[in-house]
């Protein structure tokens, strides 16, 4: 029996200015930066959408191989992440194509604004993923593992093809996979989220699970 593809649309999650600053490479702010961010938010805000499509799949973990009913993938990190899970939600989320158009536009005429929009987009898509995961946890009254995306750890980017194949993302929410495995719209995410009845370690900052400690965006304490 196969699950169906669900589509959800969310209201605008609250903005986190601190995150936007972090993504734009600022450790502090002043009136000019603040004005830049506010004008960028004002311009893009009404053009954003908050859409997710997802389906729930059964999972079997054998060693480093995760078997998801319709496809399997070899990844030690993902296998570790999902080993206690009885099923997994695979989802694709996007804030839509309009922000890409604005980034392109300002990339040509005002890169500072393009940078601000880029940071806002990054913050928005993360906020959407957070809202979605919270919603699912509540709806199913269950604990979720931290979400895990293609490219994290040793999870190959090529698993994008399988995700797109079973989620039909382009038709459902307008997310497309390019040959380079980048997605259009650029502010889109695909991820696996394990469902478990067990305990999940208290949420740390997402950067804490990353090995790249010299990253200029690193946000952990």
């Amino acid at each position: 029996m196969s699950s169906i593809i669900h589509i959800k649309t969310y209201n605008e999650p609250p903005f986190c200015e601190k995150e936007i600053l972090r993504y734009s490479g600022c450790k502090s702010t002043d009136s000019e930066i603040s004005a830049l961010m506010q004008s960028a938010i004002g311009e893009v805000r009404k053009k954003l959408i908050y859409k997710v499509c997802y389906r729930e799949l059964q999972i079997a973990v054998n060693g480093d191989v995760c078997d998801f009913e319709h496809f399997s993938v070899q990844s030690k990190n993902l296998a570790d992440n999902l080993k206690d899970c009885f099923s997994v939600i695979v989802f694709s989320a996007t804030v839509g194509i309009e922000i890409d158009r604005l980034i392109t536009k300002y990339g040509r005429i005002s890169p500072s604004k393009a940078l601000a929009l880029q940071a806002i987009g990054a913050e928005r898509i993360e906020a959407l993923c957070d809202a979605f995961c919270e919603d699912i946890a509540k709806e199913k009254n269950i604990t979720l593992k931290p979400r895990f995306s293609p490219g994290y750890g040793d999870l190959p980017l090529s698993v994008q093809r399988d995700i797109f194949n079973i989620l039909d993302c382009s038709k459902r929410i307008g997310v497309f996979l390019n040959d380079s495995m980048l997605m259009s719209p650029s502010k889109s995410v695909t991820a696996f989220v394990g469902l478990t009845n067990g305990e999940v370690k208290q949420k740390m900052h997402k950067c804490d699970s990353c090995d790249k400690i010299d990253c200029s965006y690193r946000g952990a304490l």
């Binding site: 002043d30 382009s170 307008g174």
Partner: protein, 800 residues
Amino acid sequence: MTFSEFLKKHIVYLDGGMGTLLQASGLKPGEYPERWNITHPEIITKIHKDYFDAGSNVVCTNTFGANTLKFSDGELEEIIRAAIANAKAAREQSTAGQEKFIALDIGPSGKLLKPLGDLDFEDAVSVFAETVKLGVKYGAELIIIETMNDSYETKAALLAAKENSDLPIIVSNAYGEDGKLMTGASPAAMAAMLEGMGADAIGANCSLGPKQLMGVAEELLANASVPVVLKPNAGLPKSVNGETVFDVTAEEFSEDAAAIVERGVRVVGGCCGTTPEYIKALVQKTSGFMPKMIENKNLTVVSSYTHAVSLGTSPVLIGERINPTGKKRFKQALIENDIDYILSEGVNQQEKGVHILDVNVGLPDIDECEMLKNTVCELQAVIDLPLQIDTSNTAAMEAAMRRYNGKAMINSVNGKKESMEAIFPLVKKYGGLVVALTLDEDGIPETADGRVKIAEKILKTAAEYGIDKKDIIFDTLAMTISADTSAATATLEALYRIKTELGCHTSLGISNVSFGLPNRDAVNGTFFALALENGLSAAIMNPYSIDMMKTYYTYKALKGLDENCAEYIRLAESFVTCGTAETTGTKSAAEDFKSELQRAVIKGFKDKAAEITKELLKGVLPLDIVQNEIIPALNIVGKGFENKTVYLPQLLMSAEAAKSAFEMIKSFMSRDGEKSAGKGIFVLATVHGDIHDIGKNIVKLLLENYGFDVVDLGKDVPPEKIVETVVRLHAPVAGLSALMTTTVPSMEETIKQLKISAPWCKTVVGGAVLTQEYADKIGADKYAKDAMEAVRYAEKIIAE
């Protein structure tokens, strides 16, 4: 009876969903349904037969995703052959009595087109062309292009269908809850483009239920002069006990759909979740309905990839500034392939409130075909206004019309036989609203009468090509009154007569009227007012002219075309509040700058920097301003960035302020025919496969600030093109950026080729995924962790 004949006089019933029925028969998630034509022909045939039995006039072959991106050529041919054979077998087996046709079904490619995605427009046309050719070969009787959520891809598919078959074509788009396509097009915009290109019926399918699609259907009915198609879903899918069910029942669906047929939709069926039961109910509910006759709406309209602009009610402004005539700075931009300058002209005019942008990039020494095509594509990546393609070069015209996303305005055709023979076939093929100049082999008639006669001749010839008069807009040619004081009168009289006697729309290039006179704006403004009063529909004009804008908005207010005079009041207020927010920035005690210009650059005040520079240029040499003001300011910010006291957004704001000061200096110097000597050539590109170029644009901005002649090749650039450019210009340094690990190999390939063909050229690489290790591995000369480092490296190389 052929499908075209049947469509003229009947309500056409399409079939319903295929995917949901196949899933119920065991199709696995991720499995390609098209393969079932070969592996499970009996199931596919049974579904088609059930639809014919339910009353469908048309069944769509099970070929939604049958294209060369998913299947090999051999398998694709086998799939399409089998799919059409299955549909034909179903028709033979069905004993139902209605007319029955077989449509080749074409769904989206699954890829997003450039510039938003990575599929090239012409590649998309080729992909669809293969499917179309096979459909024709195996006997499809019509083509249905469906579920397209992007206008550009829709155009590619329709073009492929038109170029490779004579079959009737139905085009149906997937609109979202906001009533628009995923990439932004409204139903009116789609109607303009698709009808212009000759689609036989246009409509909406999928994504929503019939109730939610009602608004889209209404908008299509109001705008289309061809039959409207509707193929809604059975609502939204839900999971009930592990089974997929849709929330609109056959009974509700048929009632809602019948209501839409009553409003005038002529081609109706179902999409996801609908079954033969739904179609049967629909046919029953609508039996006895009289098909509504299709009326010509007589709309004169152009469109962009988001919206349509219609001529008629309120006069339309066409911005004339993207044109090199008489503009030295613009000519320089064209010669240097400085697309950013052209784009800023577009963005600025949009901000001034024009509705359409005229695009003329003709210069004797450039490849106009390439330039016009590229400019149109680049403009459409950043500006959502419809464009007027303005050229006398027919090949350039075709190249641009083909690539244009929407229904363009075409400038121009005239009464000469040669002109009409060149332009009308293009208008017929690609669609467009064509500006017709009232002149012919004998020149421009002096009298209004002569111009009206030419207009009549043009209309008659257009009709022979199948071009309706609604797609012709006449320009009665404004001539300068400094040569002949009766010139304006003749133009205005011809305008009035064409409007009233021929019932056609009109346009004028306003500013010609004042050529050779002082204070031209005053003459232009008044002439514009007179033309409007004589029925002018559109003006090609300078939106920076205050006189012209005053005329436009006061005319609208006086004619009851401006509700509450709101637009006029906004204009009037803009004259009062000229100061911008940034000029009010307060100077704190700690800020001790050498000069106002330095302060403006350091604080990132763009407009202020330009303003001060303009003032300084009255008394200071351009190079002194650069050396003594701008460079020191940039150095302060650059050092601050390197010392981590200034952050990237601040660095960029300063760089933009410096750029606007440089721009002022540049246009001052080009006026005097001077050109500043650059520091050296820097070739810059985002590598093949990568379509995100913000990092590259940041590097470009800073390099330009520091005086480099940046040759920006854009994004997704093949190694060969980078190598060719470096060799041709003998560039000492090339910068490459990549965002993804998957595109680093094309960076490596580029470096490899550069080492062979341009061993003198140093490479500097950067981008999100790059590290020193990566850069070493792929053989780059330098890894730059940020834009300043790239600048410093380039300075070092040039100094050596």
